[in-house]
Subunit: 394 residues, 2 copies
């Protein structure tokens, strides 16, 4: 170890252990000491020393025992979390017909939330104003001043980069803090991953008015080098002599023309989603056939993606699986058949756990992954110029 002072090395190692503990709490909210020890790969003894120092410094607090969530018996473990007052995080989901917002603290506790609806024909300036009005109304109602706002994440519908830029500009001008903008379906993928004990790898597809998706690899959301990862909806599934229906993207036979909610409603010959749900529940042959066709096309797309990505989990969300839940089991069986021959394990195929709040929860999760300053602790990967930001407290 020529040229390195052992005392400095010890201090550096300890600092780094502290940073890893804080990073785990930043991403996951409340965790017990044994959960932290497993996650960061430290012994219980080393971890106890570190959490003792961090509690003494006020960077983390003991929130409660885990008795309300844990399974099995045994002594209740204390849950540790970042000092809640050290930061606020605002998540916004700007959908086609409504805007949702959630404010959470550094301990991942929800402070307030709200939703407002608007007409799908409204332009961007009116939607932006609706979002700002909602945030103001919720802030007044809950006495929030956003004095320790660490960041805002905004989910927007669709892959349009122009919409993302407009949203970024508007929120950055209105709020003096970092702003992250992403496709709200991709944020939903992140939110689903965060419902797992170990976020790991996940391929998420959402079947609603359109079809979108997202990838989480190594616990991180993947945008792709070109920024458009997750476009499952525009993989073509109708091939050969049949041309397939025209897709809104301009191609023919995309998955979206077969497995979106409107496509299945049309194929089943019913007027709307409620009628489709009733027909599926009653075992109507046309409705069943339309759902099965959608499931088989989706299974082919997901199996091909799983051969390339080898994800541990595949999650199916959106309105179609809520109307026709059997789609999940049929896709799981078909994906399993396609992958069994190649000898790797099989992914767990499941329905989404989160409902319409998935986008706004994903927005908050994206902030927890990116937040530079928490618990009064400097993220050493950021240059010192960011340190002063957000140091005012509520």
């Amino acid at each position: 170890m020529d040229g390195v002072n052992p005392t400095n090395v010890q201090a550096l190692v300890r600092r780094t252990h502290e940073e890893r503990v804080l990073a785990a709490l930043r991403e996951r909210g409340g965790l017990s000491r044994s959960q932290i020890a497993e996650r960061v790969g430290l012994s219980r003894t080393t971890l106890s020393e570190i959490t003792g120092v961090l509690i003494g410094r006020g960077a983390i607090i003991v929130t409660k025992t885990d008795g309300d969530v844990r399974r099995g018996s045994g002594r209740r473990a204390e849950l540790l979390a970042l000092d809640p007052s050290s930061g606020q995080f605002l998540g916004v989901d700007l959908g086609h017909t409504r805007v949702r917002m959630v404010v959470a603290d550094a301990a991942h506790e929800e402070l307030a939330s709200g939703v407002a609806t608007y007409d799908a024909s409204l332009g961007w300036p009116a939607r932006r104003q609706a979002a700002f009005d909602l945030i103001d109304a919720v802030a007044v109602e809950h006495g929030l001043h956003f004095g320790a706002l660490q960041g805002i994440a905004v989910g927007v519908a669709g892959p349009d980069a122009g919409a993302r830029h407009a949203a970024h500009e508007a929120f950055a001008e209105r709020f003096d803090c970092p702003v992250v903008v992403d496709n709200n379906t991709r944020l939903a993928a992140l939110a689903e991953a965060m419902t797992e004990d170990t976020p790991g790898d996940l391929a998420y597809v959402r079947l609603s008015d359109g079809i979108g998706g997202g990838l989480v690899i190594g616990g991180r959301l993947v945008a792709g080098g070109l920024g458009a990862a997750g476009e499952f909806g525009h993989v073509r599934v109708v091939r050969g002599d049949q041309p397939g229906a025209r897709c809104r993207c301009g191609k023919r036979g995309c998955l979206e023309t077969v497995a979106s909610l409107p496509a299945v409603i049309a194929a089943a010959g019913v007027p709307d989603a409620a009628a489709l749900a009733a027909a599926v529940a009653a075992g109507d042959p046309d409705a069943t056939s339309a759902v099965d066709t959608a499931a088989d096309a989706l299974a082919k797309v997901l199996a091909d993606a799983a051969l390339v990505l080898s994800p541990a989990r595949i999650v199916i969300g959106g309105s179609l699986p809520r109307v026709a839940p059997q789609i999940v089991a049929r896709v799981a069986a078909a994906v399993g058949a396609e992958l069994a021959a190649v000898g790797s394990g099989l992914p767990d195929v499941r329905a989404a756990r989160l409902d319409d709040e998935d986008g706004v929860r994903g927005a908050i999760a994206a902030l927890y992954q990116q937040s530079p300053l928490l618990a009064g602790y400097v993220d050493p990967l950021e240059p010192p110029t960011t340190v002063s930001r957000g140091s005012a407290r509520v």
Copy 2:
């Protein structure tokens, strides 16, 4: 910044900057100061202070100017690199008919390399012995004692987890250092990514006796949660009424039955690869048709993967594109047509740059990504028990 001593914070920030500079040099070998500054996001002034300290400490050295590699004019810039004597890295590629090895130092300079062939019918014990004999012979010839061996990476053919475990056990028993084992096609993907100025995102497919591939996302090799990422060869491309040829995986109509070298040779009605190359070069209609069919099937698989992953680059390697180079342009055109409608940018589709040495270069690259101890500097993310390893010098 309650509770945090500003002096400690400054020291921590400086330490972290040093670690980022060292990490950049570890992964990329020699870099100029401006290349480092761009890569780690520091100003030239801050960077010069840091490199001055690191040079003074002996952790990094000035290797040479970049006059032999840079384009354009202007003053030559010094290239900085990690102290070469601080570590050795051994890469091994165990193929079906030959084993290759390369030894490199911490500055990414190749110290020695070698290759030995064996019969494809040889079992694992004989292959392992061939690898050890090759390493011993090269070490004697070049006077290497492996006294500062930081790690060994071994590429093995095929997705068989048993083969990977056997290789790991054998090399870990023979050499007292960390061993990494991965599929050699995946390592080839990493090697291709490392030929780029910015490794970024890349989807790699290799068309040879079989078809394999690999993904690099955010500069890192992706194994997938189930560990089998990159199995492009077993995506089914023959569908509908045509059953497709039986694949060695048990399914019918996999890409491998259409676009592997043996499949194209059979479809072209020629006896071997040399005859296929001659027929393709002469414009023989059967050979051209067989190559076009392979290219179209590959394009469909790669376009679907690109819709999901949105990679900046797609790289086509292996023996088939060497025999029939036109395959790359045809795939590029078809992928572009499939992606144009969805409005993201188009990936750069190119032929592989590396030849049969890609696996062993990828193995070395994997070590540079993972190496825990370099330049006499403790990686603070590793517990102190790893510090003593590798401190002996040649």
